[in-house]
Amino acid sequence: MGIRETALEAYREALPALAASLAGGLLAGVVLGGMRAELRAVEGLLVLVPALLATRGNVYGSFGARVSTGLHQGLVEPRVRAGDVRLRRAAVAALVNGLLASTVAAVLAFLVLTLLDAPVAPLPVLVGVALVAGLLSGTALTVVVVLVVFAGYRRGRNPDTLVGPIVTTTGDVFGVFFLLVAARTVLALAGFLGGWG
């Protein structure tokens, strides 16, 4: 195959998935653009955004790949009702790892910003936002990944090719949306307890 044919084939194959995740990315951006008040109120939250979004992608990309390998190997049954033990363990592991990475991100961001003498919200606030956001978006992503991978598999589609685009598209949207919900929840709670600073 010549350069021109290779380039055209690669372009045509990639464009639909990239366009879909572009739509998801813009949607995530709108939510981020609409949460300027929360970003100002919780100093250091913007620093956490890439780490939290990437954690969703890394953890649930890996979870989706594991489930689809399990389906191929016949280790996992493509029915949610089956309450498969392996599936439950993989979902719990994804949630636990996502929460651990989110907490580490919040603690590291707090330490670095403190060392840089930059303004930063109290540690419990940052960790609280990271944990609430991780729990909510993790639960939502588990449901989406399992449902879409199972539905795709039962319709005879290769789940491997579904996982990547689904996780990148929904991961960003859910990631930012639940970050907003988490920031509002923690701010309301902190206000109720008397605020800080």
């Binding site: 350069i3 690669a10 813009l26 620093v47 954690t55 636990v96 790892n97």
Partner: protein
């Protein structure tokens, strides 16, 4: 090779890499934090952040997946005259040229629905396109280096290259966007 389906085994396989990637992403967060005032002042730029870093990562991961398949099939050689290599690199830049004007105008339109915009649609388009083309070129370089390194270290590019490329492109996405804002806005 395959991990057991227990929480402990999955965590042991996943957590170390996850923590390294988290630290890398924190770097891109610190760059974002450095121009937080600028971003909060112009909603269009804030809308651009997730879609720019996401698309950069996706361009890199698509290229990485294709090169790694070509590598496994034995049709890839690391030579500047290799058709497979050059064709895929050209497609990556062409995809950026197609997608980033849509991203720029989309971000401006959505930001204008959120409230008053401070930048003109033309400025946001130029920032998006310049960032996108720069990122596509960087994504090609990072993917080639990572695929070549995996090949030299006899690692399976499927396991290593995609996470590395996606996360490095995330960081570069923020840095390049920051540079484009400084130059054009």
């Amino acid at each position: 090779m395959a991990t057991d389906w227990t929480v402990r085994a999955i965590t042991r396989a996943m957590l170390p890499v996850l923590l390294v990637l988290t630290a890398v992403e924190l770097g891109s967060g610190l760059v974002l934090g450095a121009f937080e005032d600028r971003l909060l002042a112009s909603p269009s730029l804030l809308v651009l952040v997730p879609v720019t870093i996401g698309t950069a990562g996706n361009l890199g991961s698509v290229l990485a997946a294709r090169l790694s398949t070509a590598f496994h099939l034995g049709t890839l050689s690391f030579d500047a005259r290799d058709d497979e290599l050059v064709g895929n690199a050209v497609a990556t830049v062409a995809l950026a040229v197609t997608l980033f004007p849509v991203i720029g105008l989309g971000a401006w339109t959505l930001a204008s629905l959120l409230g008053a915009t401070t930048l003109s649609p033309g400025t946001v388009l130029v920032i998006a396109l310049a960032s996108g083309v720069t990122l596509a070129v960087l994504a090609v370089v990072v993917t080639l280096v990572a695929t070549y390194a995996a090949y030299r270290l006899s690692l399976d590019p499927d396991d290593v290259v995609i996470p590395v490329v996606t996360n490095v492109c995330d960081v570069l996405g923020v840095v390049v966007l920051f540079a484009a804002v400084l130059v054009f806005a």
